[in-house]
């Protein structure tokens, strides 16, 4: 338990920081819902749910790591199974005013579930298989990148005439390509995988914790800032 904190174990410290940051962000998004216009309230609610769900799982993961010293893989994927589809809902809500269809949302959610289920199999099935499953999972990820850059989501974002929204759509693409790409890099430190010589196994959680903070909180703040700008216009 506590000896990991006393010895400044970096993984333990990032679990503490991550927990508190997610919790505080959830409080922030829920409270600021009151300050934005109608249709933005749902987006901020979803941001609050993403960071709130993450706060609870960081609480579990932190304790699990303190007690066992190993990666809380199951909790991590339970969290992602809920929060990644909710991130897709965020993209959908952002593009809905320009005609996004429910079918696009369904495609994104299916692709993300393929990515996560195969990723989980890869992390738990051991040494020989993690490269194979990592590749399958990456195909799911690349499909999402494709949708956002060339598919339905991309087409819709062109038709907006709000500079604030255009900027948010641009940042969304950066988050999905750069922010999300930290996860597969973390995965590659697994034993037998590409980066396994360069990092310790436990540093997988450093990558994942960093990526979660950027993607969950950062993207929520981007939406928050568009919401505030667009709400000022109409009042």
């Amino acid at each position: 338990g506590l000896d990991r904190i006393i010895n400044s174990d970096p993984v333990a410290i990032t679990f503490f920081i991550g927990y508190m940051a997610m919790f505080a962000s959830a409080v922030f998004f829920f409270a600021e819902r009151a300050s934005v216009d109608g249709k933005w309230k749902t987006s901020l609610l979803v941001s609050g749910l993403i960071t709130g769900i993450a706060a609870i799982h960081y609480y579990y993961m932190r304790d699990f790591y303190l007690q066992t010293g190993s990666s809380p893989t199951a909790f991590r994927y339970v969290d992602w199974t809920l929060t990644v589809p909710l991130m897709c809902v965020e993209f959908y809500l952002l593009t809905k005013p320009f005609g996004a269809k429910g079918a696009t949302l369904t495609k994104l959610i299916i692709a993300s579930l393929v990515m996560l289920v195969t990723g989980y199999i890869g992390e738990t099935s051991g040494l020989d298989n993690n490269i194979f499953w990592g590749i399958v999972s990456t195909l799911g990820y690349l499909y999402i990148v494709y949708e956002v850059f060339a598919g339905d989501v991309a087409k819709l974002s062109q038709s907006s005439d709000s500079p604030a929204l255009k900027k948010a759509m641009f940042l969304l693409k950066i988050f999905i390509t750069l922010g999300w790409s930290i996860y597969p890099i973390g995965y590659m430190v697994l034993p037998g995988n590409l980066l396994s010589g360069l990092f310790e196994v436990s540093s997988i959680d450093l990558f994942y914790n960093l990526a979660d903070a950027i993607n969950k909180i950062g993207f929520g703040l981007v939406i928050y800032s568009v919401a505030i700008k667009e709400s000022k216009k109409t009042t």
Copy 2:
């Protein structure tokens, strides 16, 4: 306890996902109540209660399963005894604008209690009796299906002129026939019952957890989407 998580026990994982999904949905329905018109507020409140009650029972069931490794049957039926009648209230609220009567609601609730009491007897009375009680329980279920397809509920849904509401009524039928039918399929993995050779006993909870997510959250979201559409019309 925790070893079930470390070993990726699928039943334990679905209890974790189920707990968090129910909790998040309850927060969602309560928060979004503020964004819909008067008469829809009650429907969203009931959706919030159904998922909120379920969140608490999933919390108990998850811990019970982690500690004992066996099915939390009593908690499951405590949950259903409250949430199934509330689902019937949802159908009633949906058809009330077209003249649904309190008597129909009473009939649906009595049928669902017959279904649940006999189902519980079947799950706890052991090997020799679960087929008999399962059949009795299924009669209660079929009565509900009958009401929705040919009885009072069916007649009323024809008289609506809102496409959004007609679609919701259509989806309601799908939920009751397909979504709810996952429960009796799960029941059939009990020892001595029809599917007991094909699945492990513990997979009964996989079926029930999947079905609960579809029926409690999925149906709540259908109502939410009608509520949003109908509320926009009047403002």
